[in-house]
């Protein structure tokens, strides 16, 4: 419970600080946000298992680790937002940005550590509604406002479906506690329907096909920093929540939801890739890329094992650093070049900004899963865990899905390399001029880069996650 309490305190502190700090001094708020978030991470660094409200809240050690990872990712997002928030047209809303972002983070904390559907649902809404405000943060920009509307309408719809699903669970089981519901579920058709409804609600957050339609529009319209946050933190939290609930509550229907996942994974990865190839706008491109990445994350869910949990969290960690590195570069360039986000704008970037190009290249390599970068290892473990389960259950379906995912990595390599090619090879007479990014931007990118290069090589990271996962999931 400590993590939620400290985070709530931080939100309140920021709220009060926002009242007293003058608009011209918004830098103080930014510093305060960094300090408080670092404190939040530091005091909660030791994972602990806690339970409260008679089991409505139940946080495993793994959930605690996940929350720390999400906080770290949020810190990186804040670092990238530094320049954007310092702009004249945004600086007066600095306080709001932090309060809204941290509120969604708090919502995700509840999502990953709920022990009851109601608390879970409250967490989900807490994570969704402020998110819509964030998406529409540049409210005078037409695209941003449109994206906000699309997001909130879709979120409402998916919440409705999910709530419907939850009500069916209640109707057939008579309880909303995860543990009790798990015992009462038997796998009747109505319950299968409930499971699919529930799945769709979270599938919206993770942007799985066919619940993904809002993603490109929202990603493109939202401020780049918010897009970054949406694509890694929000997605990571939802993926972990989905996995833990599917395993804990719907365990009896494991055959149903692994088949469901199999179909959805194949659709998600393939559709994401097919659309990504054609995109010219980098933010829209990253939206499709993140859709297909979500498919890979779901492979770990399909594994339905402790190893699967570990590889899911591992994938999320690496996805956070790699994707944030890409978005960090996009955001830096957007801020310093007056809003350029087209792929063609990046032609010849290597000549003028070699360091940013280097970071971007390594991050894209990682996303594509090229060894020895971290992304290779995360993909490897995800594939291995799904394969392993398929092997144990002697079900060829798993292998088919893994195979299709593997083929898709090759397609994804193509479109990731398109950007690398644009930056290094495509000639351009007037590329984006050389600029010097701010301290915080550079620090954030350096951390991401270090993560991309080293996390995969440090075997202790995966080992630690496996140990924690086995501790939390003795099944």
């Amino acid at each position: 419970m400590q993590q939620e309490v400290t985070l709530a305190l931080i939100i309140l502190l920021m709220l009060v600080a926002d009242l007293f700090v003058k608009e011209s001094n918004s830098k103080i708020l930014r510093v305060l946000a960094y300090v408080l978030l670092v404190v939040q991470i530091a005091v909660n660094i030791v994972p602990a298992e806690t339970s409260a409200f008679e089991g409505m809240y139940h946080s495993t050690q793994m959930a605690s680790v996940v929350k720390t990872i999400l906080s770290l990712g949020t810190l990186l997002v804040f670092m990238q937002a530094d320049k954007w928030l310092g702009r004249e047209d945004t600086s007066f809303k600095t306080g709001e940005f932090y309060i809204l972002t941290l509120s969604t983070l708090l919502g995700m904390f509840f999502m990953v550590s709920a022990g009851h559907f109601l608390l879970f649902y409250i967490g989900l809404e807490l994570a969704s509604i402020p998110m819509a405000c964030l998406v529409a943060f540049d409210k005078f920009r037409h695209h941003s406002a449109e994206a906000g509307v699309k997001y909130i309408l879709n979120a409402m719809f998916s919440s409705g479906i999910m709530l419907y699903g939850i009500s069916m669970v209640y109707g057939t089981c008579g309880t909303l506690y995860f543990a009790d519901a798990a015992a009462a579920l038997t796998g009747t058709p109505l319950q299968v329907l409930a499971m699919v409804f529930f799945f769709a609600g979270l599938g919206f957050k993770i942007s799985l096909v066919p619940f993904h339609m809002w993603t490109p529009d929202t990603y493109q319209g939202a401020p780049t920093t918010v897009t970054a946050y949406l694509s890694v933190i929000s997605k990571g939290a939802a993926a972990f929540a989905l996995m833990s609930i599917l395993m804990k509550v719907f365990g009896i229907m494991v055959e149903d939801w692994t088949l469901l996942l199999g179909i959805v994974i194949v659709l998600t990865i393939t559709v994401g890739n097919l659309f990504a190839i054609l995109q010219k706008d980098l933010k829209r491109f990253m939206a499709y890329s993140s859709i297909s990445q979500a498919g890979y994350i779901m492979l770990a869910v399909m594994a339905d094992s402790g190893q699967g949990v570990a590889s899911l969290v591992y994938y999320v960690v690496i996805y956070i650093v790699a994707n944030l590195a890409v978005f960090g570069v996009i955001s830096s360039i957007e801020q310093h070049s007056g809003g350029k986000v087209e792929r063609d704008d990046y032609n010849g970037l290597y000549k003028t900004n070699p360091r940013l190009t280097f970071v971007m290249t390594l991050a894209l390599f990682s996303l594509a899963g090229i060894p020895p970068f971290a992304g290779f290892f995360s993909k490897f473990f995800v594939f291995a865990s799904a394969f392993h389960t398929g092997f144990a259950l002697e079900q060829t379906g798993y292998w088919v899905v893994v195979f299709i995912a593997l083929v898709n990595t090759i397609i994804s390599l193509y479109y990731y390399l398109l950007i690398v090619k644009a930056m290094y090879i495509t000639p351009n007479d007037n590329p984006i001029p050389t600029f010097k990014s701010g301290v915080m931007e550079r620090a954030g990118l350096s951390i991401c880069l270090a993560g991309v290069v080293f996390i995969g090589l440090l075997s202790c990271v995966y080992q630690y996650l496996t140990d924690t996962a086995l501790l939390s999931w003795v099944s």
Binding site: N154, I161, A200, P210, P216, L259, I263, L274, F275, L278
Partner: protein
């Protein structure tokens, strides 16, 4: 002995500092950082050696094997995991001393040799990288760690050979060295994987049951590993890269291509020796035959080369052949009965590293003085360069096996071991030892006596090198003079127990006589201004001379195999298939993917109503599918 980790960390740190920030530093500072870190490493190595050999022997009378550091890097199963750590046993400690001494001397020497050279900082960065990799190789706790550092050593060797990257020969040589050794490493890797699979571990001491169960696999795995060793140690027919590697700066040749990296193969066989001797004695004997042939072949080629660094390169190949032979003729692990070769091989590795580094550094001084590698530019240099002359002579006497210099003692033990194995092997190696004495003194007379190139020397008077270059020569010469009296068998022997070295009188006397005769012959042929005998011989057997000068056309044979046979008969058809079948298939895939993307595009209309329709339709269809399928 936890401090041993510093032996690895310091050169690595120095590499990182010099590699990242070196270009902004002054030459002196960059060189100073590299040399200082190596000096500390050398001191630590001596300290380690002292501490290690002061330890009490265990109940079996052997020095304990220590692992002050071991970190599990990649676990596969309970027993099969890749570790990174530090292993201390007699041979690794001995290698520590050798590597750090030679490396330190080369670092000091390079101050003078590379002075004012472009890329001075880069040079020191690479030297540090090499020292790190080589030390990591010998300290490896398992075969896989060894392999990792083995490749790193190859990379740093590649970088240093190609140091003068504007020279096409240097580029070609660096590529050749890398490709040939990588080709051999393929065998090494397969050997390691076989070993790991059947032994269930990568450590050097597998379980007894696995060893028994492996049957014929183990000799094969060890043989494949030896192929890797043969590549690095330039055994025939994989030796072709070493003479070309002389394109690198001379101190590099001294460090990498004479004293340390090229003996990695010998070290590898010595490391696996307990397994070789117990489970694959036949493979070990193959090592001996390969070594003997290489020793002979290289000695023959060395007799006619005119480039002084090439002579030294072939002499290195030949001497490594000696070490391999010594290991290969072992028939049991008992140093008194058939295990003598192990000790003598390690002993020779030690003494050879010192005197060969000395020879190369001396050659560096000479090249520095006359600006040429060819013997025709030299002659009569003894008056101009007294220190170089004396130290070079000491080294020549050592390699020729004249007492009391160090080479005599180690070579004598090798010959004794060969005679124990079979008289034929003993005599063959004695003859090769004689050839060694001959070509070394041919070289010596050609440089310091013989016909002086007066024109060249008048235009540019050769001069003695600065102290930074002569000091390492003197140190190494001193070691060469006294090195033979080290009671080496006390520290290193095939079964680990103390073994007092005793000279076999008949072998010693024979080998000294052969060496003296060979030196006398060389004196007769090459010491004078006019060299009628040598010229007559050359003209009497022009074909043989030419073949030997061209290294028996081995490079041409390799080129024929790769270019004509592999490229034309295999690569060309494969390339055709690749271009017309594989590429077209992939093009089709790409086209269809793109087309599908285009077709699907309208679905993403931007209308929320349609999004929601897809969402809800998806839910319904998925549910129905689940209910039907399950």
């Amino acid at each position: 002995m936890e401090y041993t980790i510093l032996i690895l960390l310091l050169p690595l740190l120095s590499f990182l500092v010099l590699g990242l920030a070196g270009m902004r530093m002054k030459h002196k500072l960059a060189g100073g950082i590299g040399t200082f870190s190596l000096a500390v490493v050398a001191l630590l190595s001596y300290l380690t050696a002292y501490n290690y050999f002061s330890l009490d022997r265990t109940a079996e009378g052997v020095y304990p094997t220590l692992q002050p550091w071991n970190f599990e890097w990649l676990p596969f199963t309970e027993s099969l995991h890749i570790d990174m750590g530090i292993l201390l046993d007699p041979i690794s400690v001995m290698m520590l001393v050798v590597i750090s001494t030679v490396s330190l001397m080369v670092h000091i020497y390079s101050f003078g040799y590379m002075k004012g050279e472009r890329g001075f900082q880069r040079y020191y960065a690479f030297l540090s990288l090499f020292s790190f990799s080589m030390l990591g190789l010998v300290l490896a706790t398992n075969i896989f760690q060894m392999y990792v550092f083995w490749e790193l050593v190859g990379v740093s060797s590649y970088l240093l050979i190609g140091f003068y990257y504007t020279k096409p020969e240097a580029i070609a040589a660096s590529k050749k060295a890398f490709i040939v050794t990588r080709f051999a490493d393929l065998g090494f890797l397969i050997g390691i994987l076989l070993y790991g699979y059947y032994m269930g571990t990568f450590t050097f001491t597998p379980e007894e049951t696995n060893l028994m169960g492996a049957g014929m696999i183990l000799p094969w795995a060890l043989g494949l590993m030896f192929i890797g060793g043969a590549g690095k140690s330039a055994m025939f027919p994989l030796h072709i890269w070493l003479p070309d590697a002389m394109e690198g700066p001379t101190p590099v040749s001294a460090l990498i291509h004479a004293a340390t990296m090229v003996v990695a193969g010998v070290y590898l066989v010595a490391r696996m020796f307990p397994l070789f001797i117990a489970y694959a004695p036949e493979t070990l004997h193959i090592v001996a035959y390969v070594g003997a042939f290489t020793a002979f072949y290289a000695a023959a080629v060395a007799c006619v080369q005119s480039d002084i660094k090439r002579v030294l390169a072939f002499s290195t190949i030949s001497q490594i052949g000696f070490m391999m032979v010594a290991l290969g003729v072992c028939t049991s692990a008992d140093p008194h009965h058939g295990g003598l070769g192990y000790m003598s091989s390690m002993f020779h590795l030690f003494t050879h590293a010192m005197f060969k580094a000395l020879l190369f550094l001396g050659a560096g001084c000479i090249i520095h003085a006359v600006h040429s590698n060819e013997m025709s530019a030299m002659g009569g240099l003894r008056k101009y360069m007294p220190i170089t002359h004396i130290t070079f002579l000491i080294a020549c006497l050592a390699i020729a096996g004249i007492p009391p210099f160090s080479g005599f003692f180690s070579k004598d033990e090798i010959l004794t071991a060969c005679f124990q194995f079979s008289p034929v092997m003993g005599w063959v190696m004695t003859v090769i030892a004689g050839m060694t004495a001959f070509y070394m003194f041919r070289l010596y007379y050609g440089i310091f006596w013989g016909k002086e190139n007066k024109e060249l020397h008048a235009a540019h008077t050769p001069h003695e090198s600065p102290l930074s270059m002569t000091f390492p020569l003197m140190v190494l010469a001193a070691i060469t003079v006294v090195g033979g009296f080290i009671p080496f068998g006390e520290f290193v022997s095939s079964d680990g127990q103390s073994y007092p070295i005793h000279l076999d009188k008949t072998v010693a006397i024979t080998s000294v006589i052969v060496a003296v005769v060979a030196i006398a012959l060389a004196t007769f042929m090459y010491a004078k201004e006019k060299q009628p005998v040598a010229d007559t011989l050359q003209h009497t057997f022009p074909k043989l001379w030419r073949a030997a000068y061209k290294r028996f056309y081995l490079d041409e044979i390799w080129l024929f195999i790769t270019k004509k046979i592999i490229f034309r008969c295999i690569s060309t058809p494969v390339a055709w298939f690749d271009r017309h079948v594989v590429d077209q298939f992939l093009n089709f895939m790409a086209w269809s993917t793109n087309a599908a993307g285009e077709e699907l595009q309208p679905v993403q209309s931007g209308k929320i109503q349609s999004y929601v329709m897809w969402f809800f339709g998806g839910v319904v269809v998925l549910t129905i599918l689940l209910l039907i399928l399950l």
